[in-house]
């Protein structure tokens, strides 16, 4: 069941322009809020809406905002995480390309709620069109008085700056993103202190995903109850899913939280290519543990997937059809993580490379009987023992792939041995390249 909430403007011609956005009621909410709402009311409304972060972790948004100390004499910042780099995920890019004002209005409203005067949008460097349209939207918003000094005649002022990433996946991790905006190498920070207390330039900072913020104008427009009603008991709103892999209609789909996975694949994405059976599904972007064929009867929301040992993550659903080499698929993923590992902590730096070397050996037909256990052992030492979640992200697929498809990681040709690299996430360059 497709619901057009976040994507309601996507099909309109020139949907990225201010004129179209305003014609659809855009910035009406901002005017209303600045005229008659206190920041606390905004926070309360968002809290009541059960909005949870769409970047991957699913943390309740209003609670994250609440960690910002009220009495800090320092300026506060909001950073919009538009560094969408998770393989299989392309939802934020669509928002920025097709309805950038939704993100801008959401940023202004959230900034108002937290008491922020300066916001940064950190856009993945490769997102050229998204960047152009975001910058154009910000310029339009300034020109119309939605940004800048005394927005819409209120006492509230906000500036938004756009900052581009330089190609590193890890800069999507919030503290690496902060380092990058500060002009430093994108290495995740140790926590504590958490960004809410000591973030950008040492000041209280909230980092929110593009999709998360895009929901805020809708919540404040139509009310928390309406938004909560779109989702499940613990997670409000719709969710943008990006379905890729061996499906007939890969693409972006806005669906209610809790939509069954199989319904998504069969009804929205048009089923598996060539009428094949599904072999496995990565449900929430490359870093989420894989689900095997018998685990696919599942509702797509944060809690259900977590209970099943995987994650909703960023909502990037990657479908692998019968005949796909799980070895090749995992090698592809792990090459990505090894390439993107920042190198700061031992388990991730050394572990990702070792994993790739073992997988390559198996692929060459030189694997040993001990390799599957070694892989799991390395992954278990990475999971939860690294500075940032990248180690965990690299470990999750290893554990799930090897445990669920062990035969394919044993010496000798597996049932679906084939060349690595699949069409939906092309081979990344080797870690030394």
């Amino acid at each position: 069941m497709i619901v057009k909430v976040l994507t309601r403007n996507f099909d309109k011609p020139d949907s990225h322009t201010l004129a179209v956005y305003e014609a659809g009621g855009g910035y009406r909410t901002l005017r209303k809020v600045l005229e008659s709402w206190t920041p606390e009311q905004v926070v309360e409304e968002v809290k009541a809406s059960n909005l949870r972060g769409r970047g991957g972790a699913g943390f309740p948004t209003a609670i994250k905002w609440g960690f910002v100390p009220k009495d800090s004499p320092k300026p506060k910042y909001i950073c919009v995480n538009a560094d969408e780099g998770e393989p299989g995920t392309f939802k934020d890019r669509h928002i920025m390309e097709q309805d950038p004002h939704l993100m801008v209005e959401g940023t202004i409203l959230s900034a108002y709620a937290i008491g922020v005067q300066t916001a940064y949008i950190y856009i993945r460097g490769e997102f050229v069109l998204a960047g152009e349209r975001t910058e154009a939207a910000i310029a339009e918003a300034y020109a119309k008085g939605y940004l800048g000094e005394n927005i819409l005649g209120s006492s509230y002022s906000l500036d938004i700056h756009v900052h581009y990433g330089a190609g590193s996946y890890i800069c999507g991790e919030e503290t690496a993103l902060i380092e990058s905006i500060e002009g430093k190498k994108g290495w995740p920070r140790v926590k504590p202190p958490f960004p809410a207390v000591e973030g950008l330039f040492g000041c209280p900072t909230v980092v929110n995903n593009v999709e998360t913020l895009a929901n805020v104008p809708l919540i404040l427009d139509k009310g928390a109850a309406w938004f909560a009603g779109l989702g499940t008991e613990k997670s409000g709103g719709t969710k943008l899913f990006t379905i890729s892999g061996h499906v007939n209609r890969p693409g972006l789909y806005e669906l209610p939280m809790g939509t069954p996975l199989l319904e998504m694949i069969e009804e929205q994405a048009g089923g598996v290519t060539g009428g094949k059976k599904i072999k496995a599904v990565i449900p929430g972007g490359a870093s989420c543990p894989v689900l095997a064929a018998h685990e696919l009867d599942i509702k797509m929301d944060f809690n259900t997937l977590m209970a099943a040992g995987s994650m909703l993550g960023s909502g990037g659903v990657i479908v692998l059809a019968e005949g796909t080499s799980m070895l090749a698929a995992l090698l592809n993923l792990e090459r990505f993580f090894a390439h993107e590992s920042c190198g700061q902590c031992t388990p991730c730096r050394e572990g990702t490379r070792w994993i790739v070397q073992i997988l390559e050996r198996i692929e060459r037909g030189e694997g040993t009987a001990g390799d599957p256990d070694t892989l799991i052992d390395i992954a278990e030492h990475m999971a939860g023992r690294t500075v940032c979640p990248l180690g965990e992200a690299a470990a999750g697929p290893v554990k799930s792939f090897v445990k669920k498809f062990r035969d394919e990681f044993l010496p000798g040709p597996g049932p679906d041995a084939g060349p690595s690299g699949t069409e939906h996430h092309p081979q990344v360059a080797g870690q030394d390249g």
Binding site: S168, I170, K185, V190, K191, P192, A338, H339, E340, S341, C342, G343, Q344, C345, T346, P347, R349, E350, G351, T352, R353, W354, Q357, R361, G370, T374, D377, H381, G384, R385, T386, V387, Q431, D432
Partner: protein, 838 residues
């Protein structure tokens, strides 16, 4: 909650009280629970990268890094368990997987954390069976090699270079497994402090001078003190078979708290240098020939006695040493006063500390003197005419530590220096206007009648400062933070006309505002030599000559009543034919004193010259007797650092050849001259000195009794007089890599910087048609030197900056010999020169 900022933490089932605000690893270190680590180091910000310090905190499912997790009241921590053990072994397995395991030829072997932890954990799996990638060893740094293969990626080197040294020379380049800790073009410049070598837990960063000179367990370690600047850093000399092999700090010991500068770490090469003087020499038929000690001492005694007999005791002058120990200097002044019979006693401290001391003596009562730790804690630092980062690098580090904690540093200096580059504000005052600046500040902050003759506008014009800029400088000494304000002054103030009056005025401001002050001191024992009595008008402890009876009683020998001559007065007396002999202990005036030709002529007009030194210096070459003395490493004694801290140390190695400690030479010579000193060893000398000059908490109780100085009037000329024949103004600076003759013979410092470099503005270089590395001839009214140039767009146009101390281009040659009437210090801060391309 426990009171008194203590919290209670349960570690491995035992409850401990620890101070609040610590991380778990810090708490564990304090209670003696050992948690393994590679990247954590108390003095650095935690990285949390190596993952060796994983521990369990009750209530948190995942293992936590002890270095980044704050210890909280009531926390229950487990540091040893099966899970933890497994995790640490897994991390070690990963580290060892990439390590070359080349311990057989690694200088770090047996003192390596990776070796130790591997040994400690014992049964580590070695499942990694892929070919290890051979990574290069980098030799682009002349003193430090970087073996990339051995690196465990702890980033201690990167952090220590950034957070403590402030050099930012090492970066973690690239990402992921290919990450390499190395110096990169465009990064900061290595200052060769060697701290990255000390903190490296493995053999990745190594001292190249030490390369394959012995296993760590073959080294004997002896504590000593650095012989270069006035900081007085504690050194650990690593020796093997009586020779120094390397130098490093020891733990947190000493005023340097584990840091050293290039000189301290790499400047030891002179000690075992082949050119060390190993036997006494005397001049026979115009030739210096080696003789035994007996002959040399007898010759010296006979000649000195003859000159005293023929020309009177006033005809002998003595230079004690700003390098030698307190005890040697103490005996030297006693030798001059009691054996020779005059007060003609001075040293190269006259060029620096003595002038500041003269200023200090002009202020009655207490003025708070800052320690290095006070500087580290300071909220505000006002630096006038000083470049501590180069003259006193550890003081420079203290300043950087303060800056890191948020201190404001304002520098008033005509030069662009490593210090001014750290300042939040740098007032580039007109050369030679440090004294007018202080007078202007005094007019603003003190209500003193003597200064009423000056007009503010005239002063400001001389300084090249606007009145609001002066106000902002004065603002550094006002307000609540005055107590945490430290004023640092250097030779820019003390080596200026009426420098003593300026120091005195500055100290009165400091005292009135409740701030503190510290004078930079270029040489290790300038202060100790003064306090030991190597001054023509002061006895040990700075006692006035009128106090001499007290000393005569202890010494059992007479002390002359008439004040003696200062260094340049002695030189002039020699030129005038009145001074017939010089006894020079550990000084090299030909190189170190301004106006080289004047000094040489003065010394050569004397009939008899005794030089006691380590090397055949340009001064020693002129001598009639050369007495080889022991280096700092070869003798015991004490040095007094710039804070006034008296620090004893012991001999670490035997002297080379027949070299003898200065004190022993003086005692033996005194006996040859029939007025023998009774001392049997250095401790007896020290005890005698301490009886005469009482100590309190390693500081001497000094006689500071408010001298009155001549106050300058508005007619005094400060700063250079323009001269169209000499259109450039040359300003002298200090160098990290040189400090006296010894530094030119230390191979480590030569590698750090081989030759002197004249820094000038690119516009001046263009006008002259020179570029980086070209040679120029620099000529002043008194002399000329040849030097290569280095372009620096931060240098003011029409000015040149040249560091003192390089033997290949000595700016002292360019200066005159005029002295300040009060401090009797020669001026050598700036000189008008002309320049031509060679």
């Amino acid at each position: 909650m426990s009171g008194n900022n203590l919290i209670s933490v349960t570690v491995n089932d035992k409850v401990y009280q620890v101070p609040a605000g610590l991380s778990i690893i810090q708490a564990a270190d304090r209670i003696g629970v050992c948690i393994p680590r590679f990247c954590y180091l108390e003095k650095l910000s935690p990285l949390g990268g190596c993952r060796m310090c994983l521990i369990t905190v009750q209530g948190i499912p995942k293992l936590q890094t002890a270095c980044t997790t704050p210890a909280k009241d009531g926390m229950v921590v487990v540091t040893e368990s099966e899970e933890i053990d497994k995790a640490r072994k897994a991390t070690l397995e990963l580290q060892l997987a990439q390590h070359p395991l080349d311990c057989f030829h690694c200088d770090k072997a047996t003192r390596c954390d990776l070796q130790d932890l591997t040994y400690l954990f014992g049964d580590i799996q070695h499942r990694y069976d892929f070919p290890r990638k051979d990574l290069p060893t980098l030799y682009d740094n002349p003193l430090i090699e970087r073996n990339l293969g051995r690196c465990v990626h702890c980033e201690r080197c990167v952090r220590v270079c950034e957070e403590i040294q402030g050099a930012d020379a090492i970066s973690a380049t690239r990402r992921g497994r290919p990450t390499e800790m190395r110096e990169v073009p465009g990064g900061g410049e290595c200052q060769h402090c060697g701290h990255c070598v000390d903190v490296c837990p493995v053999g990745a960063n190594l001292d190249r001078l030490f390369s394959h000179r012995g296993r760590p367990f073959q080294m004997e370690e002896g504590l000593s003190l650095c012989p270069y600047c006035g900081c007085g850093c504690t050194l650990s000399l690593n020796t093997r078979e009586g020779r120094i092999m390397r130098v490093w700090p020891r733990g947190d010991e000493g005023v340097n708290h584990g840091s050293l500068c290039a000189r301290g770490r790499f400047g030891w090469g002179f000690v075992n240098h082949p050119e060390r003087l190993a036997r006494p020499r005397i001049k026979k038929n115009g030739q210096l020939v080696e003789v035994d000690w007996e002959e040399a001492l007898l010759f010296t005694a006979t000649r000195l006695e003859k000159i005293i007999r023929e020309h009177g005791p006033q005809s002998v002058g003595g230079l004690g040493s700003a390098r030698a120990t307190d005890e040697a200097n103490y005996l030297f002044q006693r030798f001059m006063r009691c054996v020779i019979g005059n007060n003609n006693i001075d040293s190269s401290a006259r060029l620096g500390y003595t002038a500041g001391l003269t200023g200090r003596l002009g202020v009655a009562g207490d003025v708070r003197e800052a320690t290095l730790d006070d500087v580290r804690r300071a909220a505000r630092l006002l630096v006038i005419g000083a470049d501590p980062v180069e003259t006193n690098p550890i003081l420079g580090l203290a300043m950087k530590a303060a800056i890191r904690k948020g201190a404001t540093v304002v520098v008033a200096d005509p030069r662009t220096t490593l210090t001014s580059r750290w300042a939040s504000q740098h007032f580039r005052i007109r050369p030679g206007s440090e004294v007018p600046l202080i007078l202007a500040l005094a007019r603003l902050l003190l209500n003193e009648r003597e200064l009423s003759a000056f007009k503010d506008a005239d002063l400001l014009a001389r300084i090249a400062l606007r009145s609001e800029e002066l106000a902002s400088l004065a603002g550094m000494l006002e307000g609540d933070a005055a107590e945490q304000t430290v004023v640092l002054a250097g030779r820019g103030v003390t080596q200026a006309p009426y420098g003593a009056s300026a120091v005195a005025a500055l100290l009165r401001i400091v005292a009135k505002r409740g701030a503190s002050y510290l004078l930079t001191v270029d040489r290790n024992n300038e202060r100790g030599s003064c306090e030991a009595g190597v001054l023509p008008d002061r006895l040990p402890g700075l006692a006035p000559l009128s106090d001499r009876e007290r000393f005569e009683k202890v010494w059992g020998q007479k002390v002359p009543e008439q004040p003696g001559l200062s260094a340049y007065e002695m030189l002039q007396a020699a030129r005038d034919g009145k001074q017939k002999a010089f006894y020079i202990m550990g000084e090299n005036p030909v190189d170190d004193f301004p106006d080289t030709r004047y000094v040489e002529e003065a010394l050569s007009s004397a009939e008899f010259l005794v030089v006691q030194d380590l090397f055949m210096t340009p001064t020693a070459v002129m001598a009639d007797v050369i007495l080889p003395s022991a280096s700092f490493a070869e003798k015991a004694g004490q040095f007094t650092n710039l804070e006034g801290r008296v620090q004893p140390y012991t001999a670490v190695i035997p002297p080379v050849g027949q070299a003898r400690p200065d004190a022993r030479i003086l005692v033996e010579l005194s006996r040859k001259m029939g007025k023998g000193f009774p001392h049997k060893n250095i401790v007896e000398v020290r005890e005698e000195m301490n009886n005469l000059v009482p100590m309190k908490e390693s500081q001497r109780q000094l006689a500071c009794n408010g001298l009155s100085h001549a106050v300058p009037g508005p007619e005094v000329q400060w700063g250079p007089v323009e001269d169209s024949d000499f259109p450039y103004l040359l300003l002298t600076t200090a160098s990290l890599y040189r400090n006296g003759a010894e530094s030119n013979l230390a191979v480590g410092l030569q590698k750090g910087q081989e030759r002197a470099a004249l820094r000038l503005h690119p516009a001046d270089a263009q006008g002259l048609g020179v570029s980086d590395g070209d040679s120029v001839m620099v000529t002043s009214k008194t002399g000329e030197i040849q030097v290569s140039v280095r372009l620096d767009d931060e240098i003011a146009p029409d000015t040149l900056q040249l560091a003192e101390g390089f033997s290949d281009a000595n700016p002292k040659t360019l200066f005159g010999h005029e002295i300040d009437p009060v401090t009797r210090t020669p001026m050598a801060r700036y000189v008008q020169v002309k320049m031509r391309k060679l």
